[in-house]
Symmetry: C2
Amino acid sequence: MRQILEINVDELVAVVQPGVVNMDLQEAVAELGLFFPPDPASWYMATLGGNVAENAGGPRCLKYGVTKDYVLGLEVVLADGQIIRTGGRTIKNVAGYDLTSLFIGSEGTLGVVTEIIVKLLPKPAARATVMGVFDEIDQACDAVNRVITSGVLPLTTEIMDGDCIKAVQSQTDYGLPSDVDAILLIDVEGWPEALTRESKIVAEACQQAGAREVRQARDEAEADKLWAGRRAISAALSNLGDKLGEDIAVPRSKIPDMVRRVRAIGQKYNLLTPVFGHIGDGNLHPYLICDRTNPEMMERVRSAAGEIFTAAIELGGTLSGEHGIGLAKRDYLSQGLHPVARERMLSIKRLFDPNNILNPGKIFEETAS
Amino acid sequence: MRQILEINVDELVAVVQPGVVNMDLQEAVAELGLFFPPDPASWYMATLGGNVAENAGGPRCLKYGVTKDYVLGLEVVLADGQIIRTGGRTIKNVAGYDLTSLFIGSEGTLGVVTEIIVKLLPKPAARATVMGVFDEIDQACDAVNRVITSGVLPLTTEIMDGDCIKAVQSQTDYGLPSDVDAILLIDVEGWPEALTRESKIVAEACQQAGAREVRQARDEAEADKLWAGRRAISAALSNLGDKLGEDIAVPRSKIPDMVRRVRAIGQKYNLLTPVFGHIGDGNLHPYLICDRTNPEMMERVRSAAGEIFTAAIELGGTLSGEHGIGLAKRDYLSQGLHPVARERMLSIKRLFDPNNILNPGKIFEETAS
C-alpha cells in the first residue's frame, strides 16, 4: 500500500495508497511543477494514510488549510468488510453527505483507508524568510496581526519562546540571542517581485511591533540559516530530559494569554515548559520536560498537562490542533467537546463499527474494552 | 437570523447568523481589508445558511476551494430539539469527528443551522483579466492547462460556448465574435507587479493554445467590459425561452468530452444546449432551452437532462458541483454515488432524523413521504 498510483497534471489530482510517505508525494509532484500543501513536521516519515487519519496540519496551514482541504475522495474498507468509495476527482461535489470529511480525522475508528485522491496546486515560484526577535511574545503576535492586515497571507508564522531558544543555543550556536522572549520566523512565497514587497511589509510589521532585531534572508542559503535554530528545537529539547509534547490550538488573539498560562502552570508544578508553534493559526506545542523514571515528577506532569488542556478550552480553543486524541487525550475530550456533539459522534461510531473492532478505545473511552 | 455577530480581524474569523446574505458579509469584511472567498453567482441574494446547506461553490473555487473550506464551526438545532455546537474558531481542530463538514452540503436534512463561524483571509491587492477567443473548446482547455503548469493559479477560468456568445450578442453588442466555439475569461489576483507577470503568462498560454484573439484588461473598467458578456449570459438565455440549468462537474481533462456529449445530446433531442461554467474546477452549467407549456418538449428535456447526468458520471464526474441534489436530481443520485456510500448516508439521516421531519424527500427518495 505504498504506491503513488497516479499524478495527473491536467486535473491537479494525485491518487495514492495510504502507505505513501508525505515527503515522497511532495517530491514526486514537485518534479512536475506541482505542490501538495499539507506539511506535518514529521513529513519525512508520516504516511498520507496517517495524515488522513489525524487530519494533519503543519506550518503551512495558515495559508493553505489542513489535510481535509486537499482530500477529494477516499476508498475505505468498513468494519463489515464492505468497500466504500467517497467523493471523487472533482473539487466541487455536493451529491449527498460529505463522508470523505467524516473519515478524515477519525483516527481509524470508522474504517480502514485504502486509497486517497488528493488535490494538488501549481508550485509557487520562490520563498523568502524574515526573522523578528522580540522582548515580549505579545509583540510577536502584534507583528503577525500587522502582517495579515497589510494584505499579506504568510506561508508560515513560526514562533519559538525563550526556553526553546536557550535550549537550541546550548547545543550549537545558531546566532540567536538567548535573552529574548520570542523569535518569529515568517516565510512568504510567490513570484520574486512580489516577495520583495512582502518581505518589506513583514520586516516593517516586525519593527512597528517593537522587534529588537529583524533579519531578512536574501537567498535560500540564508533562509536555511535562519530556520536552522527552529528545526533544531525537537532534538535540543530531548537533550534536556524526557519530554511530553502537547498540541493545543487557540484563537490567534489568545496566543499571548495561552503562553502566559503555560508558564504559570510550569511554575506551579516546577516544570520547564518550552513553547513553540504555528502562531498564525493559533496552534502551539507546549512541551513538559520531565524524567519518566521519576513517578512524583510524572504526577506533576500529568496535572500540568490537564491544566494546559483546560486553559486552551477556556480560551476558546481545542485539545488538539493536528495530532488527534488517541489514548493520551481521551480522558479530556469531554471537556473539549459540546456534550451533544460528543454523543452524536459516539452514535456514528456505533453505526459504522457496531462490534467495536476498529481501533477500540481510541478517541472515546466508551469504546475501550 | 440576519445578523453579522462578529468580525474579528485579529483572528480572521467572522460569526454570522444563517440569514446573512453572502454579498453583505463580503462587503463588511472588505471594509476591514479582509476577504471571504466563496462566491456563488447568486451571491447578491444567497444567504450563508443556504451556502452551507449546499456547500456552495462559485467561480473562485479553483483557487480558493468551496464553502466547507471556510466554515470552522456551526451551531445546529437537531431534529429532537437539542442544540449542538461543532468545530470552533481555530483553523486546526482534530478533537473528535468532523461533524461540521457532515452538516455542510446536507441540504437541511440533518439539522437547522443557526450560527456559522467562518474563516477569512487578507484581501488581495489587485486583479487582472485576460480574455482568450478560441475556434475549438479543446484549445481553451489546453490554455488553462498551460496556465496552471506555468505556476499560475488563476482566480477564475470562466468559459462560455458559442451558443452562449450568440445569445448575449443577440441582446447587446458586447464586442464578442459570434462565430467562435469558446471564450475563456481568466482572472488573476495579487500584487500589481505579480499581476503583470501572470497576465503575460496567461496571454501567452492562450496564444500557444491557438487562440484566434487575446484581449487584456489594463484596468478595472476594461476588466468590467470583458466580463460584461459573461455576466449577461443568464438573462440572455432567458430571452431564448424557458431554461433548465444543470450543474455537473467532471475532471478537468474531460471538459472537451463533456461539452461534445452535451452537444450530441442536444442534437439527439433537438434542443438548444448552451454551456458555460468554471472550466478550471471542471464545473459546467449546460442549459436546456425549452418551453414549459409544451409537454412533448419537456419530455425531451427530461430525457436529455438524464443523459447529461449519465455522461458526467461516465466521465468520472458528479451530478452536482455546487447546487446540490434536492428534488430535481434525487432520482439520479443512485447513479452518482457508490451504493455502500449511499446506504451509509441514509443510515446517518435516520440517526439524526429518526422521524424524518427535516426536509423530507430531499436528496434521498427513501425519505419522501
